[in-house]
Amino acid sequence: MSDEDDEEEDARRMRNLNLDEAFEPVTSPVMRLKRAWVRERLAPEMMTREDALVEAVKTAVEAQERALTRRAETRAERGGGAEDASEKLMDNVMWVEVNRIKYLLREYARTRLRKIEAHAFYFLRTEEGQERLSERLSEAEQKYVRKYAIAVSEHYENVLKELPDGYRDAVKEFATKFATDEEEGSAMISKPKTDSFVFFRFREDVVNFVTGEDDDGNTDSVDLKRGAILLAKYSMFKDLLHTDPPKAELV
């Protein structure tokens, strides 16, 4: 009796931890895009753009919009009836869904653009940034970064020309013969803070995950349980976000 109770308790606990697909349907591209958006929003650095997902969702939404418009026209021609009343009801629901999905698409684009704008000079002027630019941003986003950086530089030129010599550059903190090239080149470039703290939730047990290594070569490792929530530096567990299926997620 108590074993059955324990099992039921465990099953309920698992369901409530919302790691099971039954609780929230995640098979469709829209749900996967929603998860991508949440991840993008919470991560301090750019994630790889989910081009395939976005295209699939856009195509599906456009097709649905056309179908709904056609149905409305057919209904207008038919002139009404009981069948039409329930069809109209469901069409309202479908329009709500279309609006939700369009909001999601726009939010995803907005989140990415916000991060791109914050780190525009990082992407263009540092080596690491340039790698990220080609790996994780789409063609359109790369063009946007370049144009944005040009626009901001021009704006700064207009504003900063009133300041004394040495303080007029958009990215150099100050030009002095004592500063090294590296310091001069990147002092004011805003880089993504991969050491910032985020909440991780683990979708699978991971045994002996190495968290750090000290100077003597000793490694710290930790056992991670499914469902555990940790507040940690993004850099510590970020590799687990990209496994397929992901072993960790940001909450």
Partner: protein
């Protein structure tokens, strides 16, 4: 301190509205293919499982009633509230989006709900849980942690989405600040100061579950 990106209430509502709920439709309709999935068939007085946003959309034309989840039924929620009060440390098991669900159901299905105090209890539960979270952060503050050593804090897995959103800005910013303060360099400075001015507090490794 950096400004942390976190979700607004509208966004947490949007995210939580994909959870599945049971409704009783008042209309007849065969299965329909929506973009995300197929739902139906809808038969009068036959319960069907749909996402919360579908239930809301149908409710607005008066076409369905919602069935309350087990946890939101009055006797269960009062029992959870009691357990939250008596257990000073452990958060009780509740669905991840319980606040958003309670708010949505109470806002749109008020006339269908048998009694209204389910909502008041869930708000009470939220404030009890927030208090427990605050206590655990306060305990953390009292120990000088070598956070740089271990590098993470674990939270109870029963914590819900909204509670995480509420504590996100504060907890992430304060962890960053304390990591910066207790980096090796500053720890040596503090230890030198300690040797000049001995105090009773000593650094303890940060490994305790909150």
């Amino acid at each position: 301190m950096s400004t942390r990106p976190t979700f607004t209430y509208e966004e947490t509502d949007f995210i939580s509205q994909d959870i599945l709920v049971e409704i009783t439709p008042h209309f007849l309709r065969e299965r329909d293919q929506l973009v995300t999935a197929e739902y139906g068939p809808f038969r009068p007085n036959v319960p069907v499982v749909v996402p919360l946003w579908v239930a809301l959309a149908l409710k607005q034309s008066g076409s369905c009633t919602i069935e309350l989840d087990d946890w939101f039924k009055l006797e269960n929620i009062l029992a959870t509230q009691e357990r939250e009060k008596t257990d000073a440390k452990q958060l009780q098991i509740l669905p991840r989006c319980y606040v958003e669900q309670a708010r949505t159901v109470s806002k749109y299905w008020l006339e269908d709900m048998p009694q209204q105090s389910g909502m008041a209890s869930s708000l009470d539960i939220l404030s009890l849980r927030k208090q427990k979270l605050r206590q655990s952060f306060r305990k953390l503050e009292q120990k000088l942690e070598d956070i740089d050593g271990l590098g993470f804090l674990s939270l109870q897995p029963e914590i819900s989405n909204l509670e995480l959103t509420l504590i996100r800005c504060f907890s992430c910013a304060s962890m960053e600040m304390s990591t910066a303060m207790f980096s090796n360099w500053s720890l040596r400075v503090i230890q030198n100061c300690n040797s000049l001015f001995p105090s009773s507090k000593t650094p303890i490794p940060c490994s305790e579950k909150m």
